[in-house]
């Protein structure tokens, strides 16, 4: 239902433009979840924002096309895009505080979305708002409608945002770190709401996250981003059980785990941190932090190669054996 082809995003600078997304191609089908995983600066959020053209003012998007339900929305004017945004594509962000107007009641904000996009009357909008608050498991929805955003807890505010994103029956939902600010117990509740709704409404879901635990519970397909590129893409089960790119492998290994149990101990880590790629790079962006890197990794751009099992990897050393970890 959504296919992004060869997306580039750059920030205009005083001297030169800085590339932050470098040729990303991704797709998601109705009823399926694509997770885009990466650390800060990987370009995952900008990739998501690019879909609806909500980039920061300094950012420039260049893309072959963005096919959404058969239409190339990359070519749409701002006005036409506004209709797509909110109505056909719903969006959920990490911080619901920033998405709500603090001085308007929750109910009014939900109703307004409906009235504006669907030209519905107040009564219909109100009925729809109540229906959705109920659908997202909001306790006492009538009362919540009359409350201001600050009167809701983080988890409830996030539910209200999901309700708002669904007001106009979108077919695609983009969720950028929707549970990062929440407690684990509340995270589980919110993810369950999302998963239930997705199934019931057959929504396509693009889930931006840094959390591979969330990926495991939610995603069908995963794209791992590093330095503005997809470095590995595979079905979630495959990626988590047999990661091929050294970055993905390092990322999975360095996550502290409960299941392991035992005394305080060392974690494997990826050395260094994400370098500043403002000046661009040739070859593999991860080479400086990679234990498998050889000269060839730094010489020429590395293509994203799809393997027989459907796993795509941007690495020429994916089959090399790693040095043992201490």
């Amino acid at each position: 239902m959504l296919a992004i082809e060869d997306l580039h995003v750059e920030f205009a600078g005083r001297r030169a433009a800085t590339q932050v997304v470098r040729g990303v191609t991704l797709s998601v089908a109705a009823g399926r979840t694509l997770a885009i995983v990466g650390e800060s600066g990987s370009g995952k959020s900008l990739t998501a924002l690019s879909i609806t053209g909500l980039l920061p003012a300094r950012a420039r998007r260049r893309v072959r096309r963005i096919l959404f339900e058969g239409e190339d929305i990359a070519a749409y004017s701002d006005r036409r895009m506004e209709d797509v945004r909110g109505r056909r594509i719903g969006m959920i962000f990490q911080d619901p505080t920033a998405s709500f107007n603090p001085s308007l009641r929750i109910g009014q904000q939900l109703e307004e979305v409906h009235m504006r996009h669907l030209r519905a009357g107040r009564a219909a909008a109100r009925a729809r708002a109540l229906e959705l608050l109920d659908l997202v498991g909001m306790p006492a929805p009538e009362m919540r409608m009359a409350q201001y955003p600050f009167e809701l807890s983080g988890g409830l505010r996030q539910r209200a945002m999901i309700a708002m994103a669904l007001m106009c029956n979108p077919t695609l939902l983009i969720a950028d770190e929707p549970t990062t600010a929440l407690d684990v117990t509340v995270q589980a509740q919110v993810l369950r709401v999302l998963a239930d709704l997705q199934q019931r409404l057959h929504l396509g879901l693009v889930l931006i996250t840094h959390d591979l635990g969330v990926v495991s519970a939610m995603a069908d397909e995963v794209a791992v981003m590093y330095a503005g590129q997809v470095v590995e893409q595979a079905p979630a089960e495959v990626l988590l059980s047999a990661p091929r790119h050294p970055y993905t492998r390092g990322l999975i290994r360095c996550i502290p785990r409960l299941a392991a149990g035992g005394a305080p101990r060392h974690l494997p880590s990826i050395r260094g941190s994400v370098p500043n790629f403002a000046a661009g790079f040739t070859g593999c962006a991860f080479a400086e932090r990679c234990d498998l890197a050889v000269d060839a990794c730094r010489r020429a751009p590395i293509p994203l190669e799809t393997r027989a099992d459907g796993q795509a990897v941007r690495c020429i050393r994916a089959d090399a054996t790693e040095p043992a970890y201490a």
Binding site: V184, A236, C254, S273
Partner: protein, 322 residues
Amino acid sequence: MPEAASVLAAEGLHRSFGIAATGGAPGGVLRAVRGVDLALARGEAIALVGESGCGKSTLARMLLGLSPPTEGRVLIGGADAGTLTRAQVARQVQPVFQDPFVSLNPMKTVAQIVGLPLVAAGGRARRERDAIVRTMIELVGLTADFAGRRPGELSGGQRQRVSIARALVSEPAALVCDEPTSALDVSVQAQILNLLHDIRDRLGLSYLIITHNLAVVDHLAERTLVMYFGRLVETGPTRAVLGRPLHPYTQMLRRAVLEPVPGQALPEATDSAMPPSPLDPPTGCPFRARCARASDVCAAVEPELRPAGDGRQVACHHPLEH
């Protein structure tokens, strides 16, 4: 635990806040911490876990001497914190905060930031201070050339290293770390956890680590305290508490953790209730509305924290088997 051996201890700590009525919301007294005892031994690392709003950060502020208890006392190196000056507290207990993007002065260089506690303490010549600062910068895994840089030039992980160096420079006995890695990327989080682990070994430090991330707890602390609604509801060796929880709340937290393993199912949606409002506390056990094991006694009597064998304690009328 004997008091003399504790670097940091709390005895019957309470902290209440008066809340003024605003708009439609009624005012009242918010009891953020409702009677906490704890003792941090020399060289020990304890984790304090719980959901947001459970009172863990208020407790931390009291332990750091930043906020006076309403009742009870904080003991730092055996002395009542109420009788110590800020400087005396700071020499023994130092904080490491969650977000190194806001806790470092952007106008100062790394050397100035790390050296400030030494300047404030006085009594050392500049040369001696510079040498200590240099040692600290290297101890936290940065190179000497970081001394002249400012926070804006550093990555999140590097900033958190600077925060740790600043905390260590006055040679405290204990660090109180409030979500020390929550603002960091996963790959950097592992580096900082390892660093905390190493410097503790090397310097014989004690840690109180406040976190909501149970997996982090497992890597840093021998003992875990679980806090709910202003009280400790379960304590014990980390492995036992997280491996075989006694309190249904601990079990709920444990089950909500999503791990990066293939094919993980979302936790069952049994828990839709929220913690009660601290302005309107329920009778009995504050967890009972979220608890499948709750009975009549839970509605009537709030359970006390009681020994449960193997160095464990639990505050529950119907604890789980272990």
